[in-house]
Symmetry: C2
Subunit: 367 residues, 2 copies
């Protein structure tokens, strides 16, 4: 842990059934015209889009909807959302859906704030700010509602990376009702994304007193929830805890950044189509085996209710249902790319070698 | 606990030795001209004013100093600080010192942001915003560095009350070195202010999942520190923990507000000159005896390391060195005033009667 400790978490978090409708006056402070950024279907089926529209109409806020965000939003989508709405007088953006929708909202907000800069240009700049963002996650996982991050896909470079803007959402509305009809496999993959945020933030060189406090609370919630991940249903009453766990995970990585499994997993999502939470969790056998923070690892396992590291690794293996086959050439290519990206690797507890990274991929294979 | 849970804590917290000097570029984002608001002596003796000036000079920020803040800043002082500096192009304010200096900085900031409104007018308005505030506490206690509150004295009404503005400080710099030469009695009185914030936030009807998480961590720190309050010295290495405990207390009351002991204690500070932390703690025998949150009270005692409520009350009594004699007429007067001020009384776990309030004062007497 650093001698200097920091905490920065400026997003106003409001959680509970109907929290959006009960707190709609807060939206009015952000402006008179909103853009809703969402995906094509989910938010229309789970009641969340209806709530957002009702909250905006309560406050006489006019709105436009952009519903073309996919699970891996691209630079082109960001540019398109801006161009379609640039003359609509948009003052704030509501990101509604999975982490991808909220991430896209942040990136689109940067273009509204910095007119004249294209999405591709912005993607290569740092510290750009955005117009105000409101985050309404419809599934617990990414924690994007409380982070400044925005992971966007660049097909020309065949990679996913942080858009690099630095605005946290102004408000996060967390309503567990939106998860009631979610697919169990989505709940699992997204729930594991949250789990990995807690772990990688906790076992991170940038961990602080405050991020550890939040992560340990997340581990306590995970210990209550871990049996429910075996399904076949996820109880409604547990969804509230899962939402809190995911938000805690977001608050943690907002302080620390993520760790090696995230960095190594992105390429598996991009090239092999593994869900992000699954791709990350797949790296855990190699990742935790080389973790040198033995004291924190012990405390983490104890708080989660696992007697040994192997028990945790077996638990993850049993839950993660995926196929992954990589040629030795692919492993070498991914490893080389990763080593070039030192910024990510150096947030680890200690430096890792190319050989170690390759071994982590090999341990994730399931031909 | 409410079904709807919230967290709002937008202040960037930076803690550690020399944190101000190490992070001075953050000040540059706030403007080119600063007003330093502080007391007459302490910040000149403990090295903090020197650090603030060095940090500002590092960033070529010009500054003015207003050093007339007393322990109970008045409406007149707030007005005076503004008038002296209103034509200096001040863009942000640094509150440097005890809670009183930071509270004063926030109120002065309101006048800079809302020109044409006098301090007395602002005192009776709600939700006014301020120009950016940077908080540099030089003693652990008030938590003002992470709250939107500003307690100001109105001699015309013989009372202290919240200035009612709603701006959190942008940044709180917490450097334990500024406490190294503090008087032990000041450390104790201020430390107990922090203690009462944790308790009154925890046993509060507005407590949330997040405020409880922060309060319980504060109780854990208090359990480590509680022996040190017997003095005669407070170890340097414990001062860092005390600063964290006080900041946690501030974060808690920023969510919940304070409780009955604070409301009842202000008059004892104003009329009888008791230090704020002492006046509040003096009310604890009556306050905790009527607390109906028995389960949370038990968990609190256990986390603090007290076997029974009486053990905690005896601990407080032993530490609080004060004299207090009130006539029955004074008790009736204070109680009547308090009952009229329902806004404060209703943040309690349950409604209290006039008879109960009077009894709380009687239990605090030490003729």
């Amino acid at each position: 842990m650093n001698q200097e400790t920091q905490l920065y978490m400026p997003t106003r978090i409001i959680q509970g059934p109907k929290c959006l409708l009960n707190n709609s006056p807060l939206l009015k402070r952000l402006g008179k015209r909103a853009l809703i950024v969402t995906g094509l279907t989910c938010s229309k089926l789970n009641g969340s889009l209806e709530d957002v529209i009702a909250a905006l109409e309560n406050e006489n806020i006019r709105y436009k909807i952009f519903d073309q965000v996919s699970d891996q939003p691209t630079i082109e989508t960001i540019q398109e959302a801006f161009e379609q709405n640039q003359r609509e007088g948009i003052e704030f953006i509501i990101g509604l859906g999975k982490g991808s929708a909220i991430d896209a909202a942040k990136a689109i907000g940067v273009l509204f704030r910095n007119r004249g800069i294209s999405a591709r240009e912005a993607f290569n700049m740092q510290n750009l700010r955005s117009i105000p963002i409101v985050a309404v996650p419809t599934i617990a996982g990414s924690g994007s509602e409380v982070t400044p991050y925005s992971i966007i896909t660049d097909h020309s470079l065949r990679q996913k990376k942080d858009f690099g803007q630095e605005s946290f959402p102004k408000i996060a509305f967390l309503d567990p009702r939106y998860m009631y009809n979610a697919d169990f496999s989505d709940l699992l993959a997204n729930g594991f994304d949250a789990f990995t945020h807690l772990v990688e933030g906790y076992l991170n060189t940038k961990a602080t007193f405050y991020s550890d406090l939040l992560a340990e609370e997340g581990f306590r919630l995970f210990s209550k929830l871990k049996a429910a991940f075996f399904g076949p249903q996820f109880p409604h009453e547990a969804m509230n805890d899962l939402l809190v766990m995911a938000t805690l995970g977001g608050m943690v990585i907002a302080q620390t950044g993520t760790g090696l499994p995230h960095a190594l997993g992105y390429v598996l999502t991009y090239e092999k189509g593994l869900a992000h939470g699954v791709a990350t969790a797949a790296m855990y056998r190699g990742y935790l085996a080389q973790c040198q923070e033995t004291e924190k690892l012990e405390r983490m396992l104890e708080t989660m209710g696992f007697s040994t590291l192997d028990t945790l690794l077996d638990y993850i293996s049993e839950l993660m249902d995926y196929r992954l086959d990589l040629s030795e050439e692919e492993i070498q290519l991914y490893t080389r790319t990763m080593i070039q990206n030192l910024g990510r690797v150096k947030t680890q507890m200690h430096r890792v070698t190319k050989t170690q990274l390759a071994e982590m991929y090999r341990l994730a294979l399931r031909p």
